[in-house]
Symmetry: C2
Subunit: 375 residues, 2 copies
Amino acid sequence: MQGRILSIQSHVSFGYVGGKAAVFPLQCLGFDVDVVNTVNFSNHSGYGRAGGSKVAAAELKAVFDGMHENELINPARILTGYIPGAEALSTIADIVQKLIDEDPSRIYLLDPVMGDAGRLYVAEDVIPVYQRMLHMATIITPNWFEVETLTETPLHDMGSLRCALRTLHTKYGVPHVVISSIPLSGWLATALPESVRPAAGSTEEHLLCITSSRCVDREDSERVASVVHARAVPLIPGYFSGVGDMFSALVLGHYDRMSASAATSHTPVSTATSWALARTHVVLQRTHEYSMSLPEDERQPSDDEKDRANPHPKTRRMRGRELRLVQSQDILRDETQPPELMPWTDFWMAIATTVVACIRAREWKTSNCKLMGQA
Amino acid sequence: MQGRILSIQSHVSFGYVGGKAAVFPLQCLGFDVDVVNTVNFSNHSGYGRAGGSKVAAAELKAVFDGMHENELINPARILTGYIPGAEALSTIADIVQKLIDEDPSRIYLLDPVMGDAGRLYVAEDVIPVYQRMLHMATIITPNWFEVETLTETPLHDMGSLRCALRTLHTKYGVPHVVISSIPLSGWLATALPESVRPAAGSTEEHLLCITSSRCVDREDSERVASVVHARAVPLIPGYFSGVGDMFSALVLGHYDRMSASAATSHTPVSTATSWALARTHVVLQRTHEYSMSLPEDERQPSDDEKDRANPHPKTRRMRGRELRLVQSQDILRDETQPPELMPWTDFWMAIATTVVACIRAREWKTSNCKLMGQA
């Protein structure tokens, strides 16, 4: 018996983003999932056109009031994803806060879905609401752009990356941060430990995933830093939707707070992320292979100008790249241990060489570290 | 590759009715399911209270328009369930009609969800809309009360049962009718063939399931009758919600129009129903066992008067009887052949002894029968 997960995110009739990408994998892992839809659309926004509407804050509240009156809200874990308006998000924030106040052992994975690759796709007033929600989360799964947005820190070197992580762990009190699908740019590839770095010349064919778990110095409990793990995965070409939603669900589904021990070099979240990464990679591989098997006009790229004149080639490409989730259920349920993320032991140690005002722990040693919330 | 199923029915955040009971089993069977929600409620109506609302006809249309514009409506199979208003149902009827006109090989399972045990739980003007939709269906899965309502025939003896089935097959042109969960009353138990009848004295501890597949006389193509199959399954005590929704989905998921041959005594729908019955039975058994393992105050029956004063014991009972669907995924995916339904060979042959005006084929022989749509 895996327990219940309350999932609050978007619904689309066709394809796999939001709840459609998250709920089935969690059910395959054995969880009962309570599904609250924040939008009801025909398809994801990548198609350029969609029918349906967002669910108003009052309607969301009515659904939760109904569950509450019937004593039906008792999740062991909470997952929030795409919630496009500040009013709806504030309503959800209140509900999650109440659930965590009631039982602080509840695990909350907050995926601050706001945008990607420099482009915001929610209203700007959503940002401060997410910033206020961060302190409730057990795990957050922002992408690179969302880390920059939440911390107001452009990421252009190791110093700014450390600064952003420290902001999330200390200012916002987030225990675990997972950043996936990071383009392996020059400075990041150079800074990577040997054990994580892809073979020379192939860094651009990889994406990086980092986890960072907050910990405190055993001797100086005021001093907060984190244990960082990383893994590079081969890049699968092309654009896929719903990958982040599926990945976050898999991190939450595989998270086991008891799984880390002093004997291993892993944290509960680095282990959960290794499962999520491996499963996500296979689903993407299968999706890629499927899309490559389609007739040429359903997969060849076309340019924006042509798409405006005739949107159908674009929608056909999109359709051919919907996640092969149902066809990958064997992998979602597979219990074979995946390769673990590797410790990035000198992530904070090398810090003395970088001038970053917001970092206090200048010679942090991970061996000295006690994970927050661990015995 | 199993293909796509378009599922149009209710959504509840908590528990398993409508789409929540239908979609996961179909996904386990390997189908991509396009999920259109006709209501968004916190929970099923059995709890007595719920938050949320029905989806307006215009909103449903907008979702389908969005899918249509993006060329995303291409299901091999269609499943419709609870659609509570006549306007919304008419909208869905138009959409399904168009899909079947486009490709008559599409398999459409229509579950005319209207009520149970003598009580209608949709608006009355929904009935004529369902009657108009029947001719589009490949399979319908009404319960006993819905058969009576659709055919306007109270079922009180074999004559009225034959009359109702004939009305569905001839007046409304339905190829396959599946009626499950029929209480085994005296006259029905008496009429059952030996091979189907439960041991003497135990009929009341069983429910009957009947399938009826329309066929035409090889010699007289004007003469239409049907091949009837049946099976009695042990009754599991207590009330469960969503069973019909899960059962209908499983019938559709297992339906294989090529599965019948002259060599076997089964029809495609009797075989599909045998799979659906066996899987449903195990899910109910597990749900029953789970509910019996709960603390006493969450399972003991209470009376209506006490429930009005304090609704919580009732909601706790309901909660403990939500289908153990996720916990039964091994069974949903199990490929072990279940026991087949048995042919009810004298269903129509015995007809000469009953005076039923609407029956023309007085000495129908199943051996003379050619299933509609079969080669």
